[in-house]
């Protein structure tokens, strides 16, 4: 029987190499795989390109990974928020790169990579500075911009339930980018609140089929980024 379980978050992230492209699920705090990100901080891989909608909050999770100097470049749609201070400071000092991608285009570029589609056309950004230098094409009288797929070496994802073969469910709006990132990464690493036996998830209710998942770690009581920030915590 296939069993993708790993004994710890430490073991699950150990093969992430310097210079890797890492997709991290979550929209703001919701769905952020905080334990996996903290394991990546402990692991220490550097020169990373990170794909996430945002750039983290406070000094935990993604913001802590950036503050620790492990991220060379962020690919995201919204790199600032009321509680994000780490990225803006480094960006203003010219110490981190930014590729700004509209949120829907970001999602579709990730999905396209997972589906083996190297590029697609979208009306999003046509007529704006974010379309400058990109290929335009007209279909049925409307202009579209070509956007390439976005692949990654690793995806770090938080889910609700997993089984040993990596079938996943999510909790509410914590799903966001995670099913797409599972498809787009060479190696997908998942932290599950609970790992159930095969058959423990109704096949009709599987959101991410296990073919897109490589490693599963059970993190039974995951911390929530908002709770850590409210408590004034930082990592390490």
């Amino acid at each position: 029987m296939i069993d993708k379980r790993y004994p710890s978050v430490t073991a699950a992230v150990a093969s992430i190499q310097d210079g890797a492209t890492v997709m991290i699920g979550g929209f703001g705090a919701s769905g952020s795989p905080v334990e996996l990100i903290h394991a990546l901080i402990d692991h220490g891989a550097s020169d990373l390109t990170v794909v996430n909608n945002n750039t983290g909050n406070g000094e935990v999770g993604l913001a802590a990974l950036i503050r620790n100097g492990q991220v060379r470049k962020m690919i995201c749609s919204f790199p600032r928020s009321s509680q994000s201070k780490v990225f803006p400071e480094l960006y203003r000092e010219g110490r981190i790169e930014l590729e700004l991608v509209p949120q829907g285009t970001l999602a579709e570029r990730i999905r396209a990579a997972g589906a083996g589609i190297p590029a697609f056309y979208t009306p999003t950004t046509v007529g704006t500075i974010l379309a400058e230098g990109k290929e335009l094409r007209t279909f049925d009288g409307r202009t579209y911009v070509m956007e390439p797929w976005l692949r990654a070496d690793f995806a770090l994802v938080k889910c609700e339930l997993s089984d040993p073969v990596g079938n996943l469910t999510y909790n509410k709006t914590a799903r966001n980018f995670s099913p797409l990132m599972c498809m787009a990464a060479t190696t997908t690493i998942v932290q599950a609140r609970k790992v159930v036996p095969a058959g423990g998830i109704d096949p009709e209710h599987v959101i991410t089929p296990g073919i897109f998942v490589d490693r599963v770690v059970e993190v039974t009581d995951p911390v929530h980024e908002d709770v850590l920030i409210a408590a004034g915590r930082s990592y390490p």
């Binding site: 749609s77 919204f78 829907g104 285009t105 979208t122 709006t173 980018f177």
Partner: protein, 215 residues
């Protein structure tokens, strides 16, 4: 002292124009208030681009689920009949033309329907676009709610946007503290004046040619 409609009244006026059964996406700020003024006998289904249809009002603190947020990263609730989905599905609803109405705030809107609401383009500013460019290109009807001028009195309704565009020629109607204004092939046209506001006052505070209401 401000004249005309206040924030709630602007939102309530916009809500009047949204048909029963519409799928609606509300931007952050005054647009969010539209949900408080759904006209009697109508139902709107709210889409939030992080992955939900059937978004409900903020829950009581003890009923919060930390995994249930809106696109503004505020805690929300789910109404009966709600659905969750991933981002590619969520933006397929937007880009695929399935969302009926999007109500947005703005920095500038031009007489040709151009909107600029994501960046001032200042050097040193951290650019952040989120889903704004997807929404303005994909949603069937783009409505804007905004004060008629900036805090320093600069017109927000202008001939051409000076800030970087979010999208060209996409806005159809604007709700300000002074008036309801349509974007027509001939430019801005007042549809309705707020109580106590004259057309001349609107014209004075608008940075482009504007036509009076049809009599």
């Amino acid at each position: 002292m401000s004249i005309g409609w206040n924030r709630e009244e602007m939102a309530a006026r916009a809500a009047q124009d949204i048909p029963d059964g519409s799928y609606v996406n509300l931007g952050i700020g005054i647009p969010e208030l539209v949900a408080k003024f759904v006209p009697e006998g109508r139902e709107f289904i709210y889409h939030t681009e992080n992955g939900m249809l059937g978004m409900g009002p903020p829950p009581a603190e003890e009923e919060r689920d930390l995994d249930l947020m809106n696109a503004g990263k505020k805690y929300v609730s789910a109404v009966p009949g709600a659905a969750y989905f991933h981002h590619a599905d969520s933006f397929s609803m937007i880009r695929g033309g399935h969302i009926d109405v999007c109500v947005l705030g703005t920095m500038q809107v031009a007489a040709n329907g151009d909107i600029a609401n994501w960046s001032t383009g200042e050097p040193g500013a951290i650019p952040a676009v989120g889903g704004a460019m997807d929404l303005v290109q994909g949603v069937k009807n783009i409505y804007v709610i905004t004060q008629h001028t900036t805090k320093t009195g600069e017109p927000k309704l202008v001939e051409r946007c000076s800030y970087p565009l979010t999208g060209p020629g996409v806005v159809s109607r604007i709700y300000t503290n002074l008036a309801v204004v349509d974007v027509t092939p001939q430019g801005f046209q007042v549809v309705e004046l707020a109580p106590g506001v004259t057309f001349e006052e609107v014209e004075r505070q608008t940075g482009a040619a504007i036509s009076p209401p049809d009599s």
